[in-house]
């Protein structure tokens, strides 16, 4: 019987089978940020277990609230910083070099096909875009990961998500994943690895694949995953060039992780995107999704472009293509946070930051910030935000606020008109 990519990665990392159906895996990369890690560090210290299994396999960043907004967040950052120094964790990214973890770590080449990756953050599933098994975990799992380099999972069940058709203009990966979450509901993929396949995925760049995988958790999935191919190899080439004679050789090697033709899937979902419209959420769950035309005219107070979902250079370019030569509506506050310093620099070089500033946007440093209502753009009661982020939960961006999730195109269009708007009218 054939295996899925998830099954192959699990088999290659199996440390133990403590009980039937449960697998303890060796972990290649344990990623850490300053919201869920300091409390793990403090607990390990309390228990006399302040050790790390391998400092080269731990990657750490301060990203959620940076620079710190108050004494508590400054303390969290300090605990991380001191810990990274104490244990010789060289891949630690502090102010000036820090960015949103799920954009920063791929950019540094830390994620490779076939890897196992964990982090105390539910959007860790983003890294499945590289053909890795990447899962969000809690703090206890993180403690064990830091200490022992292992993590326990149930045997993987996979859902094949086949995406076909021609992408209409103005429709992007965010629209596809919102449509998929609507179809599956917020619990529809629980305990599943969502394997994204098909001609539309094969044509996607890594940024779009990361957007897709990023929101797989909003359908309850353990991880999203894409088969590693030439697009993956070209993205990773600066980091893997020494290991392979050519990109062709890397692509060939990556094929060993591909799901077999006779692999078994617990569920299959087929999506034809040819007639898909831009998608927007309503209400307080990410499976409450409508066509943008059904939401058009909904007034917004703030537009937020950034996050691990849509804060990459490709997203900023898309939004800028609509904002160029236009201004945000009088009543709208526009906020851009490029997800990493490198993305910020490229946006500067390409003149995109100028476009945003001329349009009347505030441009922030890279941070998770208002996506989870912690800083830098929190909503007041009764306010509405058009956002490129990933969660529209009640209170997510501030108590009493309403968040409408959408693509960078749609968010830029909402900024210009001051209400939810079909972005295609601005694209020629």
């Amino acid at each position: 019987m054939g295996q899925t990519i998830a099954e192959k990665i699990f088999a290659a990392h199996l440390r133990d089978t403590p009980t039937p159906g449960n697998m303890v895996l060796d972990i290649d990369v344990v990623m850490c940020h300053e919201i869920t890690t300091p409390i793990a560090i403090m607990d390990l210290m309390d228990k006399g277990m302040d050790r790390v299994f391998d400092p080269t396999k731990i990657k750490a960043v301060i990203d959620h609230v940076t620079p710190p907004k108050d004494s508590k967040t400054a303390t969290q950052a300090k605990i991380m910083r001191d810990w990274a120094r104490r244990h010789g964790i060289r891949d630690f990214f502090d102010i000036g070099r820090n960015g949103v973890c799920h954009a920063l770590f791929p950019e540094k080449g830390f994620i490779r096909p076939g890897y196992t990756v964990i982090m105390g953050d539910s959007h860790t599933c983003t890294h499945g875009a590289f053909g890795a098994f990447a899962a969000g975990i809690g703090t206890t799992d993180l403690e064990v990961g830091i200490l022992k380099g292992v993590c326990a999972f149930r045997e993987p069940q996979s859902m094949l998500v086949e995406v076909t058709g021609e992408m209409p203009r103005g429709v992007v990966a965010k629209d596809i994943i919102l449509h998929i979450i609507k179809t599956l509901t917020v619990g529809g993929a629980t305990d599943m690895v969502m394997e994204f396949r098909g001609p539309v995925i094969e044509k996607m760049n890594m940024a779009s694949r990361m957007t897709l995988c990023n929101m797989s958790v909003e359908a309850g999935a353990t991880s999203g995953i894409c088969l590693p191919d030439r697009v993956t190899a070209e993205y990773l080439w600066p980091f893997i060039g020494d290991a392979y004679d050519s990109i062709d050789a890397a692509v060939e090697d990556f094929r060993r992780w591909h799901s077999d033709a006779d692999a078994v899937y617990a569920q299959t979902l087929s999506i034809d995107v040819s007639s898909l419209e831009p998608q927007v959420t309503f209400d307080y769950k990410p499976d409450c999704v409508r066509d943008v035309s059904d939401m058009a005219g909904t007034r917004v107070d703030q537009v937020y472009i950034g996050s691990c979902t849509n804060g990459r250079i490709e997203d900023i370019r898309e939004a800028a293509s609509i904002l160029k030569g236009r201004r945000v509506a009088d009543h709208v506050r526009g906020i851009l946070t490029p997800a990493t310093p490198d993305i910020y620099s490229r946006a500067l070089d390409e003149g995109l930051i100028r476009i945003f500033m001329d349009a009347g946007f505030c441009v922030l440093n890279p941070t998770c910030g208002a996506c989870l209502g912690m800083s830098s753009g929190v909503l007041a009661e009764g306010e509405v935000c058009a956002s490129t982020t990933n969660r529209n939960f009640n209170g997510r961006m501030g108590k009493g606020g309403m968040v409408h999730l959408m693509s960078p195109y749609s968010a830029a269009a909402a900024a210009v008109t001051g209400e939810i708007t079909d972005p295609r009218q601005f694209l020629d």
Partner: protein
């Protein structure tokens, strides 16, 4: 094995997310105890039947709810917020994976029952006390008037080991 159970609180909604269980603004705390007053602070039910400041929540030791409890953010703070309020059992039709694992990783219980059994529990009137017997795999609910409902459940064998070990850190330290 540790005994699980006590006074039950019923929250009649599916897809309760971890932002509702403990809002992100409290994630800057570095002690679990500091979460105690904020459990379910942002949860609002459409029918107004839940009040996070109620005496009922303060006295609860078991939380009974519907499907996909604990979805969203991976924050283990959601489990700790329950734990520091002495709620060591959540009973639901289903759980989000990370929340479920976080419960067992802390050595406490996320018990899944059939939707029909959950409905039987919700149908009980008055004050309800729930006892969870891990040996027999039975949840027994008793009302103040003496009415009793008994439901069977199955625990994943590894999750059972985690409860016996007092959590995943203890287990992993012994085995790996």
């Amino acid at each position: 094995m540790k005994r699980f159970g006590g006074r039950a609180i019923f929250i009649d909604r599916s897809d309760i997310n971890t932002d509702e269980i403990i809002p992100a603004k409290y994630l800057t705390e570095i002690s679990k105890k500091a979460l105690q007053p904020h459990l379910l602070e942002d949860l609002r039910l459409e029918d107004g039947s839940f009040d996070p400041a109620s005496e009922e929540l303060r006295q609860a030791r078991v939380l009974v709810t519907r499907a996909n409890f604990g979805c969203g953010s991976s924050r283990e703070h959601a489990v700790w917020a329950l734990e520091v309020n002495d709620i060591n059992v959540v009973i639901a039709e289903s759980f989000a994976r990370i929340f479920r694992q976080n419960m067992f990783n802390c050595g406490i219980l996320a018990v899944e029952l059939e939707a029909a059994d959950i409905q039987r529990l919700f149908a009980l009137d008055g004050e309800v006390t729930i006892d969870v017997d891990l040996e027999s795999g039975e949840v027994t609910a008793t009302t103040s008037s003496g009415e009793t409902v008994c439901c069977r459940f199955a625990l994943n064998p590894f999750d059972r080991e985690l409860v016996a070990a007092g959590g995943w850190l203890n287990y992993a330290d012994q085995h790996y």
